[in-house]
């Protein structure tokens, strides 16, 4: 099933070479790689989830990747937020992850938003992308991302982790299936939320 608009962008010889191991997979091929090149994906957060997501999407050749995060890199982040290095401590996370993503693949474009996602800016930012991936770490952002993705009409890849456990789903209620609110109609009491 195809959940994205079928957009394609022609590959340059340099890209054909770089993505050759994709091009030989029947599920990807030239057409798939051209779709990836034309795709615009927004990643919420450049932390524990956002780091590998950003790195994989960049390496795979997603044409435009947006990253939004309002935090800076702290030494205690580095045990898991693998996009950032020791020398990045104190830098803005969006700057640090952008540098890492472009170091892996300079043929893509990374758009950064060094701000907190809010009800005021969410729809404007979401409207520029085909889908959104939520790597945020708090409930208010999670509900905001769910609602904004719904109003923008784009699919949402949801994931969250706690200690050794994680969960993941894809929400696209305009096509079928539930949204995040169908699972969790109300947030947990603030006193139960781990910091």
């Amino acid at each position: 099933m195809n959940h994205s608009n079928v957009k394609r962008e022609r590959l340059t010889p340099e890209e054909i070479n770089r993505y050759s191991r994709h091009l030989t997979l029947p599920e990807v091929g030239v057409e798939g790689q051209e779709r990836l090149k034309a795709a615009r994906i927004l990643c919420i957060g450049a932390g524990g989830l956002g780091s590998p997501i950003g790195i994989y999407l960049a390496a795979a050749g997603v044409g435009v990747i947006g990253v939004i995060d309002d935090d800076s890199v702290d030494i205690t982040n580095l045990n898991r937020q693998i996009a950032h290095s020791s020398g990045d401590a104190g830098r803005r996370k969006v700057d640090s992850i952008k540098e890492r993503m472009l170091a892996i693949n300079p043929l893509i474009k990374v758009e950064t938003y060094d701000t907190r996602l809010t009800a005021e800016n969410a729809l404007d930012i979401f409207s520029r992308y085909d889908m959104v991936i939520d790597g945020s770490d708090n409930f208010s952002t999670r509900y905001l991302v769910n609602d904004a993705a719904y109003f923008a009409g784009i699919p949402l890849v949801y994931g969250s982790i706690f200690r050794f456990e994680g969960q993941m789903s894809v929400f696209h209620p305009h096509v079928h299936g539930p949204c995040y609110r169908c699972l969790y109609s109300n947030p947990p009491p603030a006193s139960l939320v781990p910091s």
């Binding site: 779709r35 109003f151 699919p155 969960q167 609110r181 169908c182 910091s195």
Partner: protein, 182 residues
């Protein structure tokens, strides 16, 4: 998550729409549970009540200062003690009831001398051991859990209560720079 996004771009495979994948790395188990759309969902249900973006901080009841005081029943400022004040007390008083309400694995990393470990998770069991006539000082990691423990004592009639503002993290920053921080 990146793979799911890529599959949707490619239009290949089956994405997790309508399924929740649960991953437990200690058991190294992956489980898939079916998800159903909730017809009563306030966003995508049959009679939605959410028609535009709302105030998500309020929705998730991120507490406001006023609400907090109502909930706690005491003035946070009045029970707060700074790291410097606690340091002076520890130097001047021979004996002091200083309770560390963090959990044992945190106690292993760092602790304040003269403190006693009374984890918040078992705090109720310790309460009968405390004397309401004595001044009691509480601390945790950042100053939140010590307020929760303080409230438990306050609700039992204790009044001579103090909570280290900013917790052991602030203590390490302002009083004991050699203490490991986590």
């Amino acid at each position: 998550m990146a793979t799911e996004a890529i599959k949707m771009v490619l239009g290949k495979g089956e994405v997790l729409i309508g399924r929740l994948m649960l991953y437990d790395s200690l058991r190294m188990s992956f489980k898939n549970v079916r998800l159903r759309k909730d017809p009563n969902c306030e966003l995508c249900g049959d009679n939605p009540s959410v028609h535009e973006l709302i105030d998500y901080q309020a929705f998730c009841s991120v507490p406001m200062p006023g609400d907090r005081q109502d909930y706690l029943g005491f003035d946070e400022q009045e029970v707060s003690i700074t790291a410097q004040e606690l340091k002076q007390l520890l130097q001047s008083e021979g004996r002091i009831t200083l309770l560390d309400v963090r959990e044992p694995h945190e106690w292993q990393i760092a602790r304040i001398d003269k403190a006693r470990l009374t984890p918040l998770s078992q705090f109720d069991e310790y309460i009968p051991e405390f004397n309401p006539e004595e001044e009691i000082y509480l601390y945790c990691y950042k100053g939140m859990r010590s307020l929760t423990a303080l409230k438990k004592l306050y609700d039992k009639g204790f009044r001579k209560l103090h909570s280290l503002s900013g917790g052991i993290d602030r203590w390490a920053e302002e009083v004991d720079p050699d203490m490991p921080r986590y």
